[in-house]
Symmetry: C2
Subunit: 261 residues, 2 copies
Amino acid sequence: MTQGNALRQVVPQPQSAAVYSIAPRPAARAVMEPRCANCCMRSVCLPCRLDDAELEKFDDLVCTTRRVARGQTLYRAGDKFEMLYAVHSGSFKSACASRHGAEKITGFHFPGELMGMEAISRLEHNYDAIALEDSEVCVLPFAALEAAARRMPELQRQLLRVLSGDISRDQGLMLMLGGMSAEQRLAAFLLSLSRRYGHMGYDPERFVLRMTREEIGNYLGLSTETVSRLFSQMARDGLLGVNQREVELKESEALMELVGY
Amino acid sequence: MTQGNALRQVVPQPQSAAVYSIAPRPAARAVMEPRCANCCMRSVCLPCRLDDAELEKFDDLVCTTRRVARGQTLYRAGDKFEMLYAVHSGSFKSACASRHGAEKITGFHFPGELMGMEAISRLEHNYDAIALEDSEVCVLPFAALEAAARRMPELQRQLLRVLSGDISRDQGLMLMLGGMSAEQRLAAFLLSLSRRYGHMGYDPERFVLRMTREEIGNYLGLSTETVSRLFSQMARDGLLGVNQREVELKESEALMELVGY
DNA sequence: CGCTGCGTTGACCACTTTCAAATTGTGTGG
DNA sequence: CCACACAATTTGAAAGTGGTCAACGCAGCG
């Protein structure tokens, strides 16, 4: 799973997360740099429902891509909101630091997913976005996106759809975090990952976790130890196979039953 | 706190929640029926940032209002998504029934707040919306709203803002449901209510709960008994006063400290 | 006046967390 | 390639928090 070839011009990652690198596209477009049209995530990303002409226009919005090394932040809580980011490769976590310095993870983000939307209302980011591995995002200036959405009804609709989808997902998680047992939470989490990996075109039954046990526990409101114990127990029960970060869901049906769906 | 005078034409509440009553506005507008411009929730509702001309146009979108009696549903999970609803008076809960018949409450909605947004992405409602008391909503046909948003940049922005705000709120709650103690959860819940009541122009320190202990517990992932015990304990500690559904926050600061903000 | 739903309180129990320690994996410098 | 240091994971035992079960008080209502 090596880093994909550079798509578009790739700017070196700035030391400070506050600096946005907005390079103009190269004038020589005849070379046909790979763009949204050629992106392997096209079918699951924001512009997925645009027709060719619209896609062309949308493509011009994407002013640049940006690489973020593992552990580095894409943006921080408190940063001014100007851009949305579409994950092109890799993965991220959203986290906010409570005043006692303890980090609380509020979400994970995978290729094709949009980050930063929670900041639209306050014009300021509420969370840190931190890369779980070396990653790359497409940078979408929000003002331009808004303007384009007025000219492209399908883009406007898609934007609303993605925002709405985020709400559903979050509420689904709330459902899970309140009133579900530790085992149910982990099962629900794994099924969520499975569905998302499947959506991206990967094997939904077999995938590699991009986050540590600690991060999973933090996210689910469980201790690291409990997460670890549950993996062991579920493996003993034949529900799944685990080897370090590799997970194989052997009994998805049983997991769904466990969660209550 | 009696039901406000009828605003706009009010259609009788249909027995079936699936029936939408979309009556055309009365032609005689010269009478100046109260509309958004006169609504007491104007300053906190979707059109709050529109100028007078825009407000006029927006007003024409609101095809009707609808009354929902306590315990009745505004829409059900599985209903086709066509409308957004702005709470005009009263309050609602969003709930979905897990397959074992157990209800799980995912949110509460108060005047000025928009309901139904989680359905935009799937074109189908994911939750039941049930009135906690006799309530009234303004009905916004989504297709018309989308079209209007293209013509009114400020409306488009406001729509995105409200959606984004919902995400923030939900993620804030996730934060709370994972990793917070029962006491912290209840404190956070009360502070959330306080803030929202304050935003609506009511006393943020003194309000009447619209939901039962059971509904609070369900929402927070706690048992009814625990909620009850916590109210008693917090009252003993002097943090608040409780009398049935009436609550007075005596030490908001201490509550915030408790939550960790 | 009894019924019924809601709220409160107590006793006991199960699930998770916390604390502690062993084990395995990963990265780095020699 | 090996050794060492540090991080991540796993496992065990003790301690707590919150849930479940049960009983009772209270208020609205036919």
